[in-house]
């Protein structure tokens, strides 16, 4: 129920919102979370548990409440897995609890609870033994498991991401975080302070701590982000900040982690019933949302915080039926206030079990003696309608773990504490074991000044720290019960006995235990269960918690919406200077690496294949033109230019005549082919060379690196983007080129290089023959190359695309690096051994190639053909070649040549099977085979008469 307005509440009662939950209409106020609004309306069951479908309600109410997860089905597409404890309710929302069969009130799957005996941890590993039954199990489990439903109609939502910078990032705006931020800002740092809650202040907002930290922080020069959490820590203080609408990648000079601690639920039978909640949830509901769900309360406590919560309950008129304290004797605080009010206090006691009524809500508890972690005799049975628990915390160390902080286990405080922090990272507050206001405030100030000293290299004196007097964490708030339902992990319905079974089965290491039991692998990622799981394992294996250790904390800290991660999805793509020309010619574009290239040029009434065939035949019979501007285009200039190339490429270039070009293959140190291209000599000290389309940036970077190491007298220039390039090819290419240039084409030999004006543009021309016909590769400045293209097109040259080029080059047996080669291809098994020149002092990969060449090859590149009368579907690239039942090779390139009238291809194959004419068996994906024969390459014009222009 909603109580009267109060100063501490953060709801706006002037603005009401209407929403539905499970089909029923409810009202709430602006500022309400879904959970607070439902509870204010008296809704008892807010969700169902993952495995046994037990009724659940609010538990932690702290951004990781595993019990209340809903789908919003109100929009065009629904939003799954909303955390109701922190998501603000909005007008018009239509909400549905996740993971129910027939609704949250009468979930039919709750019958699974009766079979829990047959569903211990790891039961699915055992159930899947029979292979034949696997499909049945899979179908059943896929139906039964999972939380919200993903709506596959959801469009891609482009969400901005931004980069942020600051001197000091403070994560957590509670007492210590505020103190740290103030200390840092007041000493001149640019401070960013974030908090996952909608307001700063942390527990200041719902406890009775009198201080002015919030107002001071608001007034200071601090950038404050609320509703924002640090999802992950990365190298050099790079922290992913997740806001409601987007993600910020924050680079901080220093990081102060003041992320506080998670309240930990004590374990006893039926500790998951609705209206059994942690003290923080109880206080936040009461003070921030003015929601009271308990009238007759039992408090289960083991620290001062529990008594503070009990005092608040009294202030709000809640009838405290009993306070059950796990501790006894000297550990107890002064209890005069409660004794004076005749509130029964059961020290050295525990709740042995809770009972539920018809409405599934808790209706009473059994209080037993509690000695040395074991329940003893029954002390009392007390009726109540709610249980408030405060027996301990687990520090939120996730970010610090990700930052490689070394931890120690503090026995007095029974918690892990940062021991050795990375340079420039600081922690404070509850993380350091400080729980009282004074100790947290001082600890925060120390962290803030440490940050200042780090950034400014100053020596500001640190205030003196205060000793912590509280012992906030009970070392064993766990009570075993013979009938089970003692939940350790609420996400996965893991009970105490599940841990025992796992350890008995040998999973006695914290990482193994986690994976076998799935402890901490649910939506809350162990925030409420890892510490108890660790304690259970420690006790079962007779180890200390420190010896057991923690599991690895990886990003992300909280669930992060996929749209935040995806951001805008930057996907750089490049277009050549002729891109618009291709569009005008109806090009169908494809991505080649990150380049948009014409696959082919569509023609009305012509199929794709026929269009490609026509382009191929145009090159063979007349003249074709292709945009090869994607090639890498580099220059090396200087007295040592030739020497440089001799070291990089496997062939020789010192003797290359000016005005001539030569094929070049580059290897890495292991002798593997990494790139190829044509190298032209412009002058004695000046070379211009191409690289593969995808290799330009990498090769330029590598060559620049090598040039620095070698210190040769030459410079490397990358002209890839500054030059466009065209390949004009076909028997009539010389004729058409002659129309637009004064260059003497009769004095232009194969593999010659010339500079001349073409269509009024100063061009670089190489007479090369990649596509197997008389051809000219014409390079021109990017902003002018269209003039050359237009001249040829207007004179009748047929544009051809990448697909036609692939056919043409395959006919010639020309390889494509990366397609016909792989990470093991050397010049010797890639068919370019003829280019290797071992008779020079050095080239990269030379030493490896010497070794490789002294050993038998395991694979070679060979050509093959299918019979001309073969009419079946062609094999595809990567189809395997099988010999005597074993894999003997694979296809690297294959196509049907319209010129030759048959299917041709290249394959990697064992050398003993690569004899010309040898029959090979190619296996299709469906397991059938087709026969082919090894053939000599080039398949077309083996004498190269056409490309030399002498045919």
């Amino acid at each position: 129920m909603r109580i009267a307005p109060q100063a501490s509440e953060i709801i706006n009662r002037d603005k009401s919102v209407t929403f539905t939950f499970e089909g029923k209409k409810y009202n709430g106020f602006e500022g309400d979370t879904i959970t607070s609004a439902l509870l204010a309306n008296g809704v008892k069951i807010l969700g169902r548990s993952f495995k046994y479908h037990r009724p659940r309600s609010v538990s932690s109410f702290a951004n990781h409440d595993m019990n209340v997860i809903v789908d919003d089905v109100s929009g065009q597409y629904f939003i799954p897995n909303i955390r109701a404890d922190v998501t603000k309710v909005k007008d018009g929302m239509k909400l549905k609890a996740v993971n129910t069969f027939g609704g949250v009130e009468k979930d039919k799957a709750s019958i699974l609870g009766r079979f829990s005996k047959f569903l211990p941890v790891g039961f699915y590993y055992k159930a899947f033994h029979t292979k034949a039954l696997f499909p049945m199990w899979e179908k059943m489990f896929r139906t039964m498991t999972g939380l919200g439903n993903v709506d596959f109609k959801t469009p891609k939502i482009k969400t901005s991401k931004d980069y942020g910078f600051c001197d000091c990032l403070v994560v957590g705006a509670g007492v210590s975080g505020l103190s740290a931020a103030l200390a840092a800002a007041e000493n001149g740092l640019d401070v960013v302070l974030i908090d996952e809650n909608p307001q700063i202040g942390g527990s200041i907002n719902y406890t009775n701590i009198p201080n002015d930290l919030i107002e001071r922080a608001k007034a200071a020069n601090i950038r404050i982000f609320t509703d924002c959490y640090a999802a992950g820590y990365y190298a050099d203080n790079w922290v992913a900040l997740v806001h409601k609408t987007h993600m910020t990648k924050m680079r901080a000079k220093t990081l102060i982690v003041a992320s506080g601690a998670f309240e930990q639920p004590p374990v006893f039978r039926n500790n998951d019933l609705p209206n059994i909640m942690l003290a923080g949830a109880f206080l936040r509901l009461l003070k921030l949302y003015s929601v009271k769900t308990i009238n007759d309360a039992v408090f289960l406590v083991a620290n001062d915080y529990g008594y503070e919560a009990a005092k608040t309950a009294i202030d709000y008129g809640i009838n405290i039926k009993a306070i059950v304290d796990l501790r006894s004797g000297d550990e107890l605080p002064l209890l005069n206030d409660f004794i004076a009010k005749n509130i029964p206090i059961y020290s050295g006691s525990c709740i042995y079990e809770a009972e539920s009524g018809k409405d599934k809500n808790v209706i009473g508890v059994k209080i037993h003696e509690f000695n040395d972690g074991l329940a003893g005799a029954l002390k009392a049975e007390i009726a109540c309608d709610g249980v408030v628990m405060a027996t301990g915390f687990a520090p939120a160390l996730n970010l610090l773990y990700q930052a490689n902080t070394k931890m120690r286990f503090d026995d007095a405080r029974s918690q892990f504490i940062p021991d050795v922090l990375p340079n420039s990272v600081f922690s404070c507050g509850k993380l350091n074991g400080n729980y009282t206001y004074e100790t947290r405030a001082i600890d925060g100030e120390i962290a803030g000044i440490n940050a200042v000293n780090f950034v400014k290299n100053s020596k500001i004196k640190l205030p003196k720290s205060l000793p912590e007097t509280q012992k906030p964490n009970h070392p064993w708030a766990i009570v075993e019960h013979e009938k089970g339902k003692t939940f350790v992990d609420f996400d996965e319905d893991l009970q105490l006995k599940d841990f025992k079974n796992a350890v008995q089965e040998g999973f006695d290491n914290i990482e193994l235990l986690k994976r076998y039991t799935t402890n901490g692998m649910g939506p809350s990622q162990g925030k409420h269960s890892n510490m108890n799981g660790l304690r259970v394992l420690a006790r079962l294996t007779n180890k200390t918690p420190f010896e057991v250790g923690t599991t690895t904390a990886r990003p992300f800290y909280h669930p992060v919406p996929m749209k935040h991660l995806g951001g805008r999805g930057f996907s750089p793509n490049r277009v050549t200077p002729l891109h618009s020309r291709h569009g005008d010619l109806n090009a169908i574009f494809m991505l080649a690496g990150n380049w948009q290239r014409p696959e082919y040029y569509a023609r009305v009434g012509v199929t794709r294949q026929n269009a490609i065939n026509a382009e191929v035949m145009a090159v063979h019979e007349n003249v074709g033109i292709i945009d090869v501007g994607t090639l890498g285009k580099l220059e090396v200039i200087g007295p040592d230019a030739a020497e440089f190339l001799e070291r990089v490429y496997i062939s020789k270039y010192k003797g290359l005549k000016t005005g001539m070009a030569r094929y070049g293959v580059a290897c890495d140190e292991t002798g593997v082919v990494v790139d190829d291209g044509i190298i032209a000599r412009l002058a004695e000290d000046h070379f211009y060379f191409t690289t593969t389309t995808s290799g330009a940036a990498t090769i330029y970077r590598e060559l620049s690196r090598l040039n620095m190491i070698w210190g040769l007298d030459c410079g490397i220039v990358n002209h890839t983007g500054s030059f466009g390039a065209i390949n004009l090819a076909g028997p009539n290419s010389k004729k058409i080129l002659g129309k637009f240039t004064d260059l003497d084409l009769d004095d232009f030999p194969f593999m010659g290089y010339r500079e001349a004006f073409v269509a009024g543009v100063k061009c670089r021309i190489i007479r090369a023959g990649f596509v197997g016909e008389l051809g000219y590769e014409i390079h021109a400045p990017a902003l002018e190359v269209h003039k050359v293209w237009d001249a040829f097109i207007n004179d009748g040259a047929t544009p051809f695309g990448v697909e036609a080029q692939r056919v043409l080059r395959l006919q010639k047996g020309h390889i494509i690096i990366g397609q016909d080669t792989d990470g093991l291809s050397t010049p010797y098994n890639a068919g370019v051994d003829w280019a290797v020149r071992m008779d020079k002092p050095f080239f990269i990969g030379q030493r490896s190639l010497k070794i490789i060449n002294s050993k038998p090859q395991k694979q070679v590149l060979a050509g093959f053909v299918l019979p001309k009368d073969y009419e079946g579907a062609p094999p595809q690239e990567c189809h395997l070649i099988i010999h005597e039942g074993e894999i003997a090779g694979r296809i690297t390139s294959i196509t049907k040549s319209p010129k030759l009238g048959q299917i041709i291809g290249l394959c990697h194959i064992k050398p003993e099977l690569a004899q010309i004419g040898h029959e090979i068996k190619i296996r299709f994906s469906d397991g059938t085979f087709v026969a082919a024969n090894i053939a000599q390459t080039p398949f077309y014009d083996p004498e190269n008469l056409n490309q030399k222009g002498v045919a």
Binding site: K158, K161, F570, N573, H719, P781
Partner: protein, 176 residues
């Protein structure tokens, strides 16, 4: 207009909204040179050079950007004539056909923060700092300056990335 942006038939070359202008200014003449002899060549042509690398100077409507210890990019009327002049040893000219986008206005910091991992806010625009960095996945050179108290950046990139960069910045700018 022939420009790297027209590589993809982009018809809009200027975008404006409150506090933000994005313009294609690729057509300005450019000249690039690198190597140990670059400084000697430029000085012989009377070009003033920035003393610090990764900074620029503006001299009579010409922008002289020092991209590294011995690499320069010049922009302005008449600079392309340097291509035809003989160069001293160890001076290697670089054909610059860069795409250049100009961003002006108070909102540019928001665009930059969404596209580039550099803290431009803390940079001193009066120093004309140059940043050789990556923006939305593209290698770029960014020149930060200010005019009448308003920030301004020129973003240079390989022209083949120009259309992508322009469209991406327009998308971000449009969503602000």
């Amino acid at each position: 207009m022939i420009s790297p942006l027209s590589f993809e038939n982009i018809t809009t070359t200027e975008f404006a909204k409150e506090g933000l202008i994005i313009k294609d200014i690729s057509n300005a003449e450019k000249f690039g040179i690198k190597g140990k002899g670059a400084e000697e060549f430029l000085k012989s042509q009377g070009v003033k050079l920035p003393e610090k690398y990764n900074t620029a100077i503006i001299d009579n409507d010409k922008i002289i950007m020092r991209l590294g210890i011995s690499e320069y990019l010049l922009e302005g009327v008449g600079v392309s004539r340097f291509y035809d002049l003989p160069k001293p040893t160890q001076a290697y000219q670089v054909l610059r056909q860069d795409c250049c986008l100009l961003l002006e206005g108070e909102a540019i910091y928001k665009i930059l923060s969404q596209s580039c991992a550099i803290d431009f806010v803390k940079a001193n625009a009066k120093d004309l700092p140059l940043f050789l960095t990556s923006m939305v996945g593209v290698g770029v050179t960014i020149l930060l300056s200010e005019e009448a108290g308003l920030p301004k950046v020129r973003i240079y990139c390989d022209p083949t990335y120009g259309a992508y960069l322009f469209k991406t910045l327009l998308e971000i700018g449009g969503d602000l």
